[in-house]
Symmetry: none
């Protein structure tokens, strides 16, 4: 009896071969429906951001910014975007193994909606990770803060669900310090950026370093990684390099073609080269205003050059005022001396504990106190 029952179950759940190393063309929700339950180790998704751009944006020099206006990124309301999000997340949840994980990347335009919906569906957030761009596009109009980061959400199937985290690999990658939830990485450019006749193939190609870290952190060798918004195949290329299996969904044949060509050229890494990967830590930079902000130098403090020829006053935002002139520590020092340039850190001095010292000494103090 027990044998027979087992056989029946097997017959019903007939083994389905996964389309490994393939791109499923068409709508990603439809494509995922063709895949069996509990079969995927990791879903990495870079969904459209639901950008609602106004008119054209010009740089200060008059040239025009190439905006993301592809039709796959047009949603005219939150409702439509939310429905779309719930649909693909539901399918992703079904095909993921119980110990599988989901990563989503987005910006402030969409990430709050995506995050709330995946929580509603039962996903359990393990970390939100900030991709801090080392070279973001500036805010040309000077109307807001430079939009210098994007947000990733990493989650498991549920509060009690198992998941994989290669703690040791991350610590090694980060110079023997725990990997933090903020990652500094450059945007995708140079040789890595796919171009066709001088123009970019995909408007929002992600850097391989980002996918590299995601997969190294949360998958094992041989795991199956699915990307519902495959684009030009960054996920596939990195998966192949790291010895992971991959499946993509993509409806634009231009992207599909470029992706297959790209992944074909990719070579898998051997174990030893993985182990030698090390991240470089940048020397920290400190702005004068940060010293003021943190109370190292109080607004109102007198600040002067070595010979006390000029005695200026520190203001709340870290600017200086001398008689009628105002400026940064570098700019005002330059103006007063009539010099072509000035290193304010060594030019300006303050009195501290009865001793006169360059403000650079205060910066050193701050660096020591805030070192990781």
């Amino acid at each position: 009896m027990r044998e027979a029952s087992k056989a029946r179950v097997k017959t019903i759940a007939k083994p389905v071969e996964l389309p490994l190393g393939q791109i499923l063309s068409g709508d990603c929700v439809e494509a995922m429906r063709s895949l069996p339950d509990n079969s995927i180790d990791l879903v990495f998704a870079d969904p459209p951001y639901n950008l609602q751009l106004g008119g054209d944006l010009n740089r200060p020099d008059g040239s025009q910014v190439d905006a993301v206006t592809d039709h796959w990124d047009q949603f005219d309301s939150f409702k439509i975007y939310d429905d779309f999000t719930r649909d693909w997340l539901t399918e992703a949840r079904r095909i993921l193994k119980p110990d599988g994980a989901l990563w989503v990347i987005g910006s402030y335009h969409n990430i709050f909606r995506v995050g709330a919906i995946l929580q509603d569906l039962g996903f359990w957030i393990l970390n939100d990770v900030v991709w801090r761009k080392s070279n973001p596009m500036p805010n040309f109009k000077g109307t807001r803060f430079t939009n210098a980061h994007e947000t990733l959400i990493w989650c498991s199937q549920g509060e009690k669900a198992k998941y994989h985290f290669n703690y040791r690999a991350m610590k090694t990658l980060n110079d023997e310090l725990q990997m933090r939830s903020d990652w500094v990485l450059p945007i995708c450019g140079g040789q890595e950026r796919l171009k066709e006749g001088g123009t970019k193939v995909h408007p929002t190609q992600k850097p391989e370093a980002l996918l590299y870290r995601v997969m190294l952190a949360t998958t094992e060798k041989g795991d199956v990684v699915l990307d519902p918004f495959f684009g030009t195949g960054t996920t596939g290329a990195v998966a192949k390099r790291l010895g992971r299996q991959w499946i993509g969904c993509e409806r634009e044949s231009v992207y599909t073609d470029a992706a297959l060509k790209r992944i074909e050229k990719e070579l898998p890494l051997d174990e030893s080269s993985l182990e030698t990967m090390q991240s470089k830590r940048n020397a920290p930079k400190v702005a004068f205003g940060v010293l003021v902000e943190n109370g190292y130098i109080k607004p109102g403090t007198e600040i002067f050059d070595k010979k006390r020829k000029w005695v200026a006053k520190v203001r709340a935002d870290g600017s200086l005022i001398y008689e009628k002139q105002v400026g940064s520590i570098h700019g005002l020092g330059k103006e007063l001396q009539g010099a072509p340039s000035c290193n304010g850190w060594t030019f300006w001095h303050i009195e501290r504990d009865g001793k006169i010292e360059a403000v650079d000494a205060v910066r050193q103090l701050y660096l020591l106190a805030t070192e990781d």
Copy 2:
């Protein structure tokens, strides 16, 4: 007609005295209901994070981590949390002026829900800002990434709504580079951390540097700042220091008492320290013609672009002439380049004392000489 209409509006909106410099005790939604419409310049909110910690969290050495387990921080479900969030955001929206702004800080536990709901209510996100902690608590169990940041959302009343951003002050604070959406600041500790008998008064006291930057960036001197989750009054302390008015809501008398004592001790910065670098938009405007009128640039002077492709001539009224074309410094620069726009101040150059410099330098000279 217009005058009469204005008078009528004034009569209807009878002046209500705001409880400036006071903490309203009790539930924040009830407290906000007592305030009039369109009366607040900035709401800064640090709502409970809805942390769902299971058992106690222990350090590797066995000592216990002081987790956030106060009773005000427990919510049974997302539903309750969402309703609560919608309630206080709705009141905040009502009492905010049309050009007022809202800041909310949160972690991955709650920020996605808060962000989605404030979008649903009509708030328009201007930036999400990442507070990157220079000294976060490590992940003791080694099971995830070190949770090293929190997220802030800055939004206006709507897509077309006005808002305030002190671009110039932020740029000065950041060593003459645009302020980015990621801020590196230490967590609150040391002398700044309020303690009572050796234990922290509040589990999630925010650093003053964070509020300092928020207020310097998005409020003006004298503005009214409201904090619905006042806690130990970091918002009030920084507001007082920076010459802003404040109102708090808080239901725990332990926090209220500590906050009032703390703010009492705080000293406002003096007038001159408080002045920040003005954005050029607010700075006194100088027409090019004024420079000509005052002899800073003589009529007949040759004026040219950086590459000397176009050499125009200055006329008595401050207009330029190039061959048959005439116009303002902006208009002619735009015409000649065929550009959508042109900042004539940086486009046109003149020779002065043998040196070539943008006419903007002459404007600066004039501004310095005529500043009151």
